[in-house]
């Protein structure tokens, strides 16, 4: 018996999404049943990494078969779900999913900042958004999408926030690694532009020396700006 098919049968009939430890527990319980067949006993102790690999293999096979459903891992638990394009028919059958109303634009922006930058303080969020986040934070906390995760090691020890597993479930994400463009946004460094940031002919718009990537301090020849040939010595 292939491991992936055993897992498939478990997930097919499970009442709820199953995590890898839960699946591992089911395999062990089956092996401990009285008079268990050697084939069943063989899966008594399967490494979790092997289970994950088998699940991923299974998910790939389902994806390749282009069926109307797929195997997904949401917030660490595996389950079968339908493909989104079949929504209209399913809604007719089972009714609208009981979901809270969609999030507003400000709420989504704040949530994105928390998701990529956690743990993060309110001050950090406001710094990025340029507006107060009190109202939206209230909504996000009430909906259980974010939670307090600790306190920052800065003056006043402000609370820091992070996302919950409900957040992953709400957006159908496996983990935070699964966020769109996660690598880029989580450790984003804004590159300084090599070009002058402003250029308005007629005005003395020589870029300050610190805007030039190779600025070595001291006297720096200006690249633009007609009325002045040299930057001011510091």
């Amino acid at each position: 018996m292939e491991l992936k098919f055993i897992l498939e049968s478990l997930l097919f009939s499970a009442q709820k999404p199953l995590s890898v430890p839960e699946l591992s527990g089911a395999l062990a319980a089956a092996a401990e049943q009285e008079g268990a067949d050697p084939g069943v006993k063989a899966f008594k102790k399967v490494r979790e990494s092997d289970l994950t690999a088998a699940l991923e293999q299974l998910a790939r096979e389902h994806e390749e078969a282009k069926r109307s459903y797929r195997l997904v891992c949401v917030a660490g638990a595996w389950q079968f779900v339908t493909q989104p394009e079949f929504g209209p028919w399913l809604r007719a059958l089972v009714g609208f999913k009981a979901r809270p109303p969609r999030l507003s634009q400000p709420a989504l922006e704040t949530l994105a900042i928390i998701a990529y930058r956690q743990p993060v303080t309110r001050a950090d969020m406001e710094q990025i958004r340029g507006v107060s986040v009190d109202g939206v934070m209230q909504t996000l906390l009430e909906r259980g999408l974010v939670e307090q995760v600790g306190r920052a090691e800065v003056v006043g020890h402000p609370m820091t926030y992070g996302t919950t597993s409900l957040f992953l479930g709400y957006f159908g994400l496996r983990s935070l690694e699964d966020l769109p463009a996660a690598d880029e946004l989580r450790k984003m460094v804004v590159e300084r532009s090599a070009a002058p940031v402003t250029a308005d002919p007629g005005l003395a718009t020589a870029p300050p020396e610190q805007l030039q990537p190779n600025a070595a301090g001291g006297v720096q020849p200006a690249e633009t700006g007609d009325q002045r040939k040299e930057a001011a010595p510091t």
Binding site: A112, I128, R129
Partner: protein
């Protein structure tokens, strides 16, 4: 009317408005002309003011920053005032661009989350029915003694214990016969009902007592039955074996004639 202000919510904040203006210019954030942007931004604020829209403080702060940037542009770098305490390397233009780029990235990320959110509304999980060979409810334990019921009602009555100390005299508004009808209606709609649910929203001791007497009467008449799913679990009330024959609400009326007089029951609360 003069105090009425429309809250301006099209732009979430000054950065949002700046991004919109940059998009309109169709230029890269890094190449935007900040002096022109400053002019447009301030024109926008002016329009908002003319339209008597509420302008958030953040917009004004941004307008001030833009004006500062613009004013700096007018002076050659060697004539610019060194701002006290401002570290070398802090250029307000760069600071603003950096903030805009960062904000833009998160705004884009938010848009992607929005797509995921909408997609999730159309994703339905497989929810198989519960296997039939595993019944999860044990057969209800039918026997609930009178003492169990009295115990349960005394818990409910404790809610009123304190209020009874300062006694007010008021007319009893409830009769057992009314409560019998109410109970029958309630059970017909929502059976089985938890014992505590029977007394939800009741405001006085005498109302609880009337309801309890009505309950006892109906149990005696086998219209209702009290049971517990597990030992020491909450008592639940369901339809009794006698209810099937007289299920029409109107037919309970004759029963009430045998009901106890409420006044005699609640007249002496100490008993």
């Amino acid at each position: 009317m003069a105090d009425y202000k429309v809250k301006f919510e099209v732009f979430e904040g000054p950065l949002d408005l700046l991004l919109y203006l940059i998009r309109k210019e169709e230029v890269d954030i890094y190449e935007v002309n900040l002096t022109r942007l400053a002019t447009q931004f301030i024109e926008y604020i002016e329009t908002m003011r003319v339209l008597d829209l509420e302008i958030a403080g953040e917009f004004l702060v941004m307008a001030a920053t833009l004006m500062y940037i613009k004013s700096r542009e007018l002076l050659p770098a060697d004539q610019q005032v060194e701002v006290e305490g401002e570290e070398e390397g802090e250029d307000p233009r760069w600071e603003l661009i950096r903030q805009l780029v960062e904000y833009k990235k998160f705004k884009d990320a938010a848009a992607q989350l929005q797509v995921l959110e909408a997609e999730q509304e159309n994703v339905f999980p497989r929810r198989p029915g519960k296997p039939e060979f595993a019944p999860d409810t044990l057969p209800p334990r039918p026997e609930v003694s009178l003492f169990d019921l009295v115990n349960a009602v005394s818990v409910v009555l404790k809610r009123f214990a304190r209020r009874e100390e300062a006694r007010e005299i008021f007319e009893d508004q409830w009769t057992v016969s009314e409560k019998i009808e109410q109970l029958m209606r309630l059970i017909a709609e929502r059976a089985p009902l938890k014992f505590s649910e029977l007394f939800e929203g009741m405001i006085s001791r005498s109302e609880v007592v009337c309801t309890f007497l009505a309950l006892l009467e109906l149990i005696r008449l086998r219209q209702l039955v009290a049971f517990q799913k597990e030992a020491f679990g909450e008592i639940e009330i369901g339809r009794g074996p006698g209810a099937a024959a007289t299920s029409a609400p109107g037919s309970v009326a004759p029963l009430t004639e045998s009901a106890l007089c409420p006044q005699s029951a609640v007249g002496n609360p100490k008993s």
